[in-house]
Amino acid sequence: MSERLLIVGGTVVDPARGVEAVRDVLIENGKIRDVAAGLSKKPALKDVETIVAVGLWVIPGLVDMHVHLREPGREGDETIATGTAAAARGGVTTVLAMANTEPVTDNPSQLAFLRAKAAADAKIHVLFAGAVTLGQKGERLTEFARLKAAGAAALSDDGRPVMHAGLFRRALECAKDLGLVVIDHCEDLTLSHGACVNEGPAALRKGLKGAPWAAETVQVMRDIALTELTGARVHLAHLSAAASVAAVRDAKRRGLPVTAEACPHHFVLSDEMIPGYDADWKMNPPLRSASDRAALIEGLADGTVDAIATDHAPHGCGAKAQGMDAAPFGVIGLETSLAASLTELFHKKALTRRELVARLTAAPAAILGLKNKGTLAPGADADVTLVDPDTVWTPVAPFVSKSRNTPFSGRRLKGRAARTLVAGRTVHAL
């Protein structure tokens, strides 16, 4: 006896197939079986369990290709169980967990441990990145083939850049041979050294050390050059600067295999908005200027920036209470990314509905080579998010995440995930 479920009356938005219309969705055994108008009226389906989605968008589950789940090593801040529960609340059904755990996920056995842990604890799909260099020290490459065999979905030293251009070139070449994408955290440490916020008037006023936008762009440009040299794919994490967006736009125009992501905090907030020395507004790269923020939105609108990702980075209250310059970098985002994106991009008409959904689903799935995700095509995994686009709400602590370090706390947002399904099973419902 097969398990079937019918989602009825919602507006299906599936950018991968160009569908944007009222449709019913039939799920069978955890897969999308059919997407069509009037399925609920078919006599053969009249007894199937039904979810009414009238007034909601029915979209592929969000793919967040940039999160930190803190396991192993910092389970006090987040775990696979709590991080994926937070994701479910935010409409996210697949995440890519970065390798800057403690210890670093730079070897096959730790990957195997993490995948087993995720199989037991995770509410949604969890993919894992393997580190590019041992211990993320930027000195010796990890064993890419063995990492891939152990299930690494991508390679990244995220949290730290690979400063050594020669080493990064070899990483790109080896990753290309294996068909893995390398995700780079672009930051020239000699330019950003010791900074806690963006370099600019706000930092000058507060007496804080700022990192210039060029700290990112210098390495974005380096990576673009190395992509051109090697022919390897590179994905640029959390772009924050206007000049970086311009560089990626130019690279894409030249046909180079570069992709990029932006985080909601970077396209919703800017450095002059930071209240005092509140470290819940501290992340790396830092919030930039209003014009950088505008450029990110333009980049998202024209497709220069392919994907929206959160860089969900939980830190406990004690760590964040150390103040702006001593607190660790990072903000949580899984529970607010959809809402913040709807508020800033869709409701303000910077992106169409279809474009927005693509940035949240199809694009990151494509970058990670996930064939059965990011779409509601028949046969795809039944990871589905029902979006209530118009309800205004205010995120406040406590969150589903173990941590509460977010600048979106107390900020009015419009739209949210009404229900999240993973493989046809509801993992979150309002």
Binding site: E199, L204, R205, K206, G207, L208, K209, Y277
Partner: protein, 307 residues
């Protein structure tokens, strides 16, 4: 006398009104004229200094004593702070012991912003990172006001390492509020042009900056700035930016020279400038005690209202 002051804390001069700043200066001037009769008797002033200080700390201690308060010495090294206690816990404990005033110096900018509202005692910033050093600026202002009477239309050059200077920021915020103009001068790495966004004029040529100015406040060049690549050498910096008597003569006649100390003679300032007739450097130090007395006393009255 200080009806315009109603704050229990002094964390910075940014955001204070002209009336508030003048109220503190008036009180300082009155203390200078006639010593008060132990208005802070029974109060205890604790010093939380996580950075070295000679001048500021002695000046605050002397101010506390002249007001009749008891100074409580506290060294961060060897204290519970060094044992991992949070700053807030340290302050709450000292407050429970009877501390009524905290005078805090800390290497991190803005560290007091979240702490001050959580304690009943007065919190006075004695320098936080690169952010503010309000009592230093107040004593600079007191010294200039004694000379000028009013700040309207005056132009003050602040010369040196502005980027890393809490003294420069506090002076800028207050001088602007009081109607003066401020020119920041130094090499671009130490005086980025973006300072214009804070309302300062930025000038990288020392002679152009000084020409026609009403005063110059010279900041110390810390030696570690060379290792950090902000300047190639002390000699190179001195050649381009040292305040000499000859350069000082480009200012208006009798325009004074200030320096918050400690001085590196022969680096940012020459001895003929530091010791010459324009120099008010020791007058500043003397005024520091009165400025700090005014702050401790004014904040205490506001605290008494809140308690």
């Amino acid at each position: 006398m200080t009806k315009d002051w109603g704050r229990k804390d002094l964390l910075g001069l940014e955001g204070l009104s002209a009336a508030e700043i003048e109220a503190l200066l008036d009180e300082a001037a009155s203390f200078k004229k006639s010593p008060p009769d132990r208005p802070l008797a029974g109060r205890t002033v604790a010093f939380l200094f996580s950075e070295a200080s000679t001048r500021t700390r002695s000046s605050f201690e002397e101010a506390a004593l002249r007001l009749g308060a008891q100074p409580l010495s506290f060294s961060a090294a060897g204290s519970s702070l060094a044992k991992g206690e949070t700053m807030l816990d340290t302050m709450l404990n000292l407050q429970a012991i009877g501390v009524t005033h905290f005078v805090v110096r800390h290497e991190r900018s803005g560290v007091l912003e979240s702490l001050a509202p959580k304690v009943a005692a007065c919190v006075v910033n004695a320098g936080d990172g690169w952010h503010e050093h309000p009592t230093q600026a107040l004593l600079d202002l007191l010294t200039l006001r004694e000379r000028w009477g009013s700040f309207q239309g005056k132009r003050v050059v602040i010369l040196g390492d502005i980027r890393h200077s809490r003294v420069a920021r506090s002076n800028l915020f207050a001088l602007k509020t009081l109607g003066a103009k401020v020119t920041f001068c130094g090499p671009t790495p130490l005086v980025p042009d973006a300072f214009t966004s804070l309302g300062a004029q930025v000038e990288h040529d020392v002679e152009r900056a000084l020409k026609g100015a009403d005063a110059v406040n010279v900041l110390r060049l810390q030696l570690e700035r060379m290792e950090q690549g902000f300047t190639a050498s002390l000699a190179d910096y001195a050649l381009a930016y040292q305040l000499t008597a000859e350069r000082a003569a480009l200012m208006k006649p009798d325009a004074p020279i200030l320096h918050p100390g400690p001085m590196n003679r022969g680096v940012e300032i020459s001895s003929d400038a530091a010791d010459g007739p324009r120099s008010l450097i020791l007058a500043q130090v003397a005024n520091g005690v009165f400025a700090r007395m005014a702050v401790l006393a004014a904040c205490d009255r506001a605290r008494s209202v809140h308690v």
